[in-house]
Symmetry: C2
Subunit: 274 residues, 2 copies
Amino acid sequence: MHKAIGVIDSGVGGLTVAQELMRQLPKERLIYLGDTQRCPYGPRSSTEVKKFTWEMVDFLLEKDIKMLIIACNTATAFTLHELKEKLSIPVIGVIEPGARAAINETVNSHIGVIGTEGTIQSHAYVKALQEINPDLHIQSQACPSFVPMVEQGCLSGKQVEEVVQNALLPMKGEMDTLILGCTHYPLIKNTIQRVMGNQVAIISSSEETAREASTILGFHHLLYKGEETPVHQFYSTGRIEVIAKITEGIFKEYVEHFDSVTIENAILRSLESK
Amino acid sequence: MHKAIGVIDSGVGGLTVAQELMRQLPKERLIYLGDTQRCPYGPRSSTEVKKFTWEMVDFLLEKDIKMLIIACNTATAFTLHELKEKLSIPVIGVIEPGARAAINETVNSHIGVIGTEGTIQSHAYVKALQEINPDLHIQSQACPSFVPMVEQGCLSGKQVEEVVQNALLPMKGEMDTLILGCTHYPLIKNTIQRVMGNQVAIISSSEETAREASTILGFHHLLYKGEETPVHQFYSTGRIEVIAKITEGIFKEYVEHFDSVTIENAILRSLESK
């Protein structure tokens, strides 16, 4: 079997990155690990997020992956630099791709960012954006209510509409581009777009991360060139039901892929030993 | 002075890549070389295109650039592989970025590609697209009349409308995404969009190449982190007037940059010695 792209997330949010990888790189094989048992990462300390992320990375490294995608904004904010330095395979986070796409998209240089408390407090997006263009106007806001709602599989309807309105209506203003700085948020993108209005371009860090994974794999001659149909593997540290439910929901248009998806309720070996 | 990004093109088309680099990476310094004297490359043999491209590359390498962008589709089709192999700095062509963006954009998997005879006959786009997704439907067509028109500075009006209609109307059909597989074409993008209709997404290989240059520079820690305002340099192998005219036209919204642009009518040293 050819080498896979490893994807880690605090829970189900990274599935939106997995979905985009399947769409934009349909020949590539994925191994996904969601730390659903310890989700959300947003309110956790940097030390805890680093420890959990390394446990997930060790699990995937044993499976001989060719690239690691940190499909969680909080984990990217706290560990990307360290992981890039220590691993010999390319490592991609979800923050810089969203930042670059927003810079490409904005016309009036007013960019909004929403994410978890951890991501927003880390100022990772502000840094990534201003490192490239110091003249941008950036407005950022934590939306702590979104992830727990999505992890419960609650993706549309009146409750979602209300939660999103309460969080985002006060933000509306000059921005013409809003970065969904959390991979859970694309699962409620339609509601976010409706609340912000069509004049605001919504940037999904998931879609952009898949695009950059494609760029980096291509640049380093790591794209899979064979003919094998990929068989993806999905692991969870906790109950697999939510991953299964969301997977069925978001992958339904890729039925041929969903057929070949192996969902296993794997307990991390590193956790077992505790 | 900090190291620049080198950009080469057969003429003025690469200016659309330069424009996007300035917009998406406003802190980076550019050195541009357009081979206006020997433009167009489209109808030339692979041997000739390779020879001319290497002459331009040698000129820029002497200026100690940190990245090379081959901002010409024909030159990319014939030389990217070789240049990536032989140079120690990152080399980016314009074909793969456009291909990846089209794969990201298309909903119905029907993609169109237009370019010069050289680019289309090289099948470089078809290869780049199908290497990533073999199930795409791709329709490609050479538009040999576009480059000479643009090189004359003819960018809008009745003549352009007629030429574009004659070339593209027969192509209209199932495609939902059209790649402008020549960096000259973004200069007549409005006309192309009008002829194809709003239901077709137009992918500018220039915009996407700048986006990927940003990705690769970021990934390799090569982004400029200092505070110096960049002073760009533009060189031409022939008459500078067309480059000056187009530059004034397309850079007008970046007045602060245009102020600091140095346009020099440089004759390639490697050409002088002949």
